[in-house]
């Protein structure tokens, strides 16, 4: 069994976001080799029922969107397509900025976002990590769950990703 197949088995068993670093440690391989293995796996999954989803440096196995209609019917789980405008605005900022502080979200939206952020955290659509430049605050970032609901395998597949990201970034930190 080659590395790609072994990675597939581990990702299936974990059923949780797994970083490239974690995989490298588990297999005692370099991160480059793991990335190579992930690419092989990804290529193998073309036309299959499963797909590899990536956020930042983590990966997770998911079902292909084409199989989603049936599962959607079976789960009866509705995302909150009732996210509302506040939710959608906040998700847009988090998705296209990647990792973003609450201060920046508030600045862009012009209103306090603490309640909507808590709501999105509870729903598992965003998660928070300590802010490396300010230990008292957090950075918010998209989760696999969110990418799943959007049916995209990685952030770069979001609609108009490059344009929107560039516009937001240049306005947030002007040259």
């Amino acid at each position: 069994m080659d590395l790609a197949a072994q990675i597939e088995a581990i990702l299936f068993w974990q059923a949780a976001p797994t970083t490239v670093a974690d995989l490298a440690r588990s297999f005692a391989q370099s991160e480059a080799e793991i990335i190579q293995g992930l690419e092989t796996l990804s290529a193998r999954l073309v036309d299959r029922g499963l797909t590899l989803v990536r956020t930042g440096d983590a990966v997770m196995l998911g079902t292909v969107p084409a199989a989603g209609t049936l599962i959607e019917r079976l789960t009866k789980e509705e995302l909150a397509r009732d996210l509302g405008r506040a939710g959608l605005e906040t998700l847009t900022v988090v998705l296209y900025r990647g990792e973003v502080s609450r201060a920046e979200i508030d600045y862009i939206r012009g209103v306090n976002s603490s309640f909507i952020l808590r709501n999105l955290l509870v729903r598992g659509l965003v998660d928070k990590i300590p802010n490396p430049t300010d230990s008292r605050s957090f950075l918010y970032r998209p989760t696999f769950e969110l990418l799943g609901w959007l049916g995209v395998r990685e952030l770069t597949n979001l609609p108009d990703y490059e344009r929107v990201k560039t516009e937001l970034t240049s306005l947030v930190s002007p040259p």
Binding site: A16, M60, P65, T75, L79, N112, G151, D160, L171
Partner: protein, 251 residues
């Protein structure tokens, strides 16, 4: 149920940038100092009507109103400068003006992206395996962290961090407290600049003077009737209240 109370608190409010952008876009204008000056009156008018209809929204409504007032004060500044280019503007004020422009452009990018995101959410999702679905043969494996004192401290922290009623951010509070003062100062500055350069205006069309007079009237209205900020004692909670609207008397 838990989730329901939460939804109410998150509630839907139109934010100030959303309103301002709608005003600018309704006139098919770009975002710049000129267009912001052009919609300042409409924004203040919107704000004047806002509190009455939202009085029942309590604390969250107050916080939203606070955000509106902050944007309004910058718009008043922009409008004043547009009416009287000779009006002296500090660097800080100029900074506030460019900042509002920039935020509005940012907000526009976000707003224009919403339909794209909505469309993506309507697509079929990717599903994952539920990590809790199949846990076989659990082995009792405690760790040294699990102690009664640890559990007690953790619960205290959780209770402390439960969502509290919205508290206005300090910066907003500072600006709210001084909003009446800001308007008062500006009104005086505009009036003196107007006296000083009145001859310039006479050369211009007569309407311009009318515009300035009515804008001053609007400011006056704002000052007298729109917003009262109440702080019962130092560091106490800030409350913004609306007075019943009375028709101001202007000669």
């Amino acid at each position: 149920m838990v989730v329901d109370i939460f939804a109410v608190k998150v509630g839907e409010f139109e934010g100030p940038l959303e309103v301002l952008l709608e005003l600018v876009e309704a006139r098919e204008l770009g975002i710049n100092q000129v267009s912001l000056a052009a919609v300042a009156d409409s924004f203040l008018e919107y704000l004047r009507k806002l509190p009455g209809s939202r009085r029942s929204d309590g604390q969250a409504g107050m916080a939203i109103l606070g955000n509106f007032v902050v944007v309004a004060s910058t718009l008043i500044l922009i409008k004043s400068v547009s009416l009287l280019p000779t009006l002296a503007v500090t660097d800080e004020e100029q900074g506030e003006i460019s900042d509002l422009e920039r935020r509005l452009k940012l907000y526009q990018v976000v707003k224009d992206t919403l339909p794209l995101l909505k469309a993506a959410l309507a697509e079929t999702p990717i599903f994952y395996r539920d990590p809790r679905a199949r846990v076989l043969n659990p082995v009792f494996s405690p760790t040294a962290e699990i102690t009664l004192p640890g559990v007690q401290v953790t619960m205290q922290r959780l209770l402390r961090d439960l969502p509290q009623l919205e508290v206005l951010p300090e910066k907003t509070v500072k600006r709210l407290v001084s909003i009446e003062q800001v308007i008062g100062d500006l009104t005086r500055r505009i009036q003196s600049a107007l006296t000083m350069s009145f001859s310039d205006f006479v050369k211009d069309k007569r309407e311009k003077v009318n515009v300035i007079v009515s804008f001053l009237a609007l400011l006056e209205l704002f000052k007298q009737g729109l917003v009262t900020v109440i702080q019962s004692e130092h560091f106490a909670e800030i409350r913004i209240e609306t007075k019943d609207s009375k028709t101001p008397r202007y000669g």
